[in-house]
């Protein structure tokens, strides 16, 4: 589903190269975890996948279902099924969460040539998804992310992910700022989205989240490259021994 080939990318503003020859393949149905120390390029990778303009790809390619996505803008990538759950979701004052959900869902339907959702159907979907994430409907009447706690913001991200039904989900540090109860609920929400036709990429600093969302593969990112790949035991190994061993091998 996702194939990243020898990707090199830099910051447009100052030319700093962040991704330096990254290779990664994630199959449909797979849950891949990307781990690595601070500054290894994890969040940058998620932004590049979603099409953020601050980064420029200088070499290599990103294939999604066999097609290069480099020329697509963020909205086009989103409607093609790529979703990024942000580490720091943005506040959108004056725009009720419900309204935002409706606009986003209908824009995606429009891109697929489908009719806008009827209001009762829309409400039903939102209610069902919110119940699963233990979210209060009253919260969804508030402007998106404005005054939400860290945990509420993360839940709202997973709610959007669920409603937009993407094919490639990228979760950037979704566990940061979550207490243990919220972590369980969010993880259950993500696990419910596991499907044979969907790939999930989890970017995380700690092994903690992977206790709840068990990955099929684990990749260690260091200085803009995948330096080691393995199965879920690699995450446990990292937890026990730190990154030093893996990084040492790479260097």
């Amino acid at each position: 589903m996702l194939e990243i080939r020898n990707l090199h990318a830099r910051i447009v503003d100052d030319g700093t190269e962040i991704i330096r020859g990254l290779d990664l393949t994630v199959k449909a149905g797979e849950v891949a975890a990307i781990m690595g120390p601070n500054g290894s390029g994890k969040s940058t990778l998620s932004y590049i996948l979603a099409g953020r303009e601050d980064y420029e790809v200088t070499e290599g390619d990103i294939l999604y279902n066999g097609q290069s996505i480099l020329e697509m803008d963020p909205a086009e990538r989103a409607t093609s099924g790529i979703f990024l759950a942000f580490q720091y979701p943005m506040e959108i004052p004056g725009v009720a969460t419900m309204e935002f959900l409706k606009v986003a869902m209908n824009e995606q339907r429009k891109a697929r040539g489908e009719e806008p959702l009827k209001i009762p159907e829309f409400l039903k979907r939102v209610k069902d998804a919110a119940a699963l994430l233990d979210m209060d409907m009253a919260m969804l009447k508030r402007p998106l992310n404005v005054g939400f706690s860290g945990g509420e913001k993360k839940r709202a991200e997973i709610l959007q992910m669920k409603l937009l039904e993407p094919k490639l989900c990228v979760l950037d540090e979704t566990d940061s700022g979550l207490d243990i109860d919220a972590l369980k609920i969010v993880s259950e929400g993500v696990n419910a989205l596991r499907a044979p036709d969907r790939a999930i990429v989890i970017i995380t600093h700690y092994q903690r989240l992977l206790q709840y969302i068990v990955p099929d593969s684990v990749h260690v990112l260091y200085r803009g490259q995948v330096v080691k790949s393995g199965d879920k035991s690699l995450a446990l190994d990292l937890e026990a021994n730190g990154y030093a061993g893996v990084i040492g091998q790479a260097a």
């Binding site: 953020r52 303009e53 963020p74 989103a78 943005m90 725009v95 606009v103 824009e107 959007q160 937009l164």
Partner: protein, 505 residues
């Protein structure tokens, strides 16, 4: 946060073609010769068939005006206006004054049709000739359901038609052009005209008092709730012609009226002057809600052409427990100089000012309000949202003052500015003065930028760039949009989108 490069590029490419109302109409006009003198004022007064007291009033204002200098304190820059190089009167030859719809030149009706003005009574009337009475009733019912708006249509210097007059008259409401009011209701005009904005008020108000041509007159008698929305639609068409609108609205004890004005003008290279005076008077327990959707031609991409909109609007809460509310959506004009204000004279009276001012290209906006607290327990509320894009400058200028006797005066002010791109400017200039120790004034101000982060976040959910910006901007102005009469809220939202189109792609 660095400005979005893409946004800047697109702002550079801003195209005036997006101004939808820039067409001009070829129509035979009856004009005063260029220039301003006592003779010209006599000419205007004669054209309007005014009584002699009105002419005297104008001449007195003119004699004062020649002694005045243009105000320079606003944050706007423009070449000196040659007041002798303007026509002060221009009226379509075919329709020299307000008349019934059937007598209006069809060419004029087409103008309003093209502008999408709800002259809906026109359609009803057109239908009447072919149908019988029962169907007519049905038709009126439909109009009721679809929300009715009475319209006074002002074309350059004259009102060409006022709709629903008869029906309003049944409720006791007078809605007509100011020219007609001067002839038909001189006692009311004499009593109230200039009582809120005196002829000596300021340079442009004094000029207006001398040469005003048309505008609306509304009188809602004691205890009457005006049965429909009233509105005036101002169209400036003729070249090198100033438009001097004069509007007077009076709500007697316990009366209520909601009024909306809209404005457009053709696309021209020359600047045109619109200098209006609007006076509102609310007696005991009366309420006036005044909304403006201002969409004068803003000038082209290089800042050439556009309307100079120099306007004095003031409401007098003359009675106890009276209320005046100004709501404005300002998207047009090359230069806007406008401060709709409230004099809170009656005890327990309240004033409100809700404003959205959008500037793009080389537009300059200097707008805000004055809340003058004179009575006891008076309150005022100011919500201002400025949105600047392109190379525009957007200034909020406001004054809140409490008189010595204004015990327990309360004001809440919130001014937010939103910048799109990094070539524009937003400025906030609040003045506050409390001469009574019990006054409570609160002021909040923020300036923010549509960040790359917000735009990226919204787009990541599948919302295309232009819709993403519109969504963020509409969220920003929501508090004010909610104050507009329902049917105009949607229009205003669209208008804001169109005004920013050049800046977001």
């Amino acid at each position: 946060m660095p400005a979005v490069q893409d946004t800047i590029d697109r702002v550079r490419k801003i195209d005036v073609d997006q101004y939808k109302y820039g067409f001009q109409t070829e129509i035979a006009m009856d004009k005063a010769p260029k220039g301003l003198s006592e003779d010209i004022i006599r000419f205007i007064s004669a054209k309007k068939e005014e009584p002699s007291w009105m002419l005297e009033w104008r001449l007195e204002a003119y004699r004062r005006w020649v002694t005045l200098d243009e105000p320079k304190w606003a944050r706007v820059h423009y070449p000196k206006i040659d007041f002798q190089d303007l026509h002060y009167y221009a009226a379509p030859k075919s329709t020299p004054g307000p008349t019934s719809l059937s007598d209006v030149d069809p060419e004029l009706l087409r103008v309003y049709e093209k502008l999408g003005i709800p002259l809906r009574e026109q359609e009803i009337l057109a239908g009447v000739q072919k149908t019988d009475a029962s169907e007519l009733e049905e038709a009126s019912d439909n109009v009721y359901k679809s929300g009715r708006v009475a319209v006074d249509a002002v074309f350059d210097s004259v009102s060409v038609v006022t709709t629903f007059k008869k029906e309003l008259a049944q409720a006791g409401v007078i809605f007509c052009s100011i020219s007609e009011a001067i002839r038909e209701h001189p006692e009311l005009v004499k009593k109230y005209l200039g009582s809120v904005v005196p002829t000596s008020d300021n340079f442009y108000a004094t000029l207006n008092s001398a040469v005003f041509t048309d505008g609306s007159f509304v009188f809602v008698p004691k205890g009457v709730r005006c049965p429909m929305e009233l509105s005036t639609y101002f169209r400036m068409n003729e070249k090198n012609t100033g438009q001097f609108e004069r509007t007077l609205i009076i709500a007697e004890e316990g009366a209520y009226v909601s009024y909306l004005e809209g404005c457009t003008a053709p696309q021209r290279d020359e600047n045109q002057l619109h200098a209006a005076v609007v006076e509102l008077i609310a007696l005991d327990d009366a309420e006036i809600k005044y909304s403006t959707v201002q969409n004068w031609y803003p000038g082209d991409a290089e800042g050439k052409g556009g309307i100079y909109n120099f306007v004095t609007k003031r409401g007098d809460c003359r009675g106890h427990r009276s209320k005046i509310s100004w709501t404005q959506v300002e998207t047009g004009s090359a230069i806007t100089w406008k401060y709709p204000s409230c004099i809170l004279r009656g005890d327990d009276s309240s004033g409100e000012f809700y404003s959205i001012a959008v500037s793009n290209g080389y537009q300059q906006v200097d707008s805000g309000t004055k809340m003058i607290h004179l009575g006891k327990n008076t309150s005022s509320r100011i919500i201002s949202k400025g949105i600047a894009a392109g190379y525009s400058q957007n200034t909020y200028r406001g004054q809140v003052s409490a008189h010595r006797k204004a015990t327990n005066a309360r004001n809440f002010t919130n001014c937010d500015s939103l910048l799109i791109g990094d070539q524009c400017g937003a400025h906030t200039v609040p003045y506050m003065e409390a001469k009574n120790a019990t006054a409570q004034f609160e002021h909040e101000a923020t300036t923010s930028k549509i960040s790359e982060d917000q735009k990226f976040y919204v787009m990541q959910r599948g919302i295309p760039e232009e819709e993403a910006i519109a969504l963020i901007v509409n969220g920003f102005v929501k508090d004010v949009i909610q104050q507009l009469p329902m049917e105009f809220a949607v229009e205003a939202q669209k208008l804001i989108g169109i005004s920013l189109e050049g800046s977001v792609g």
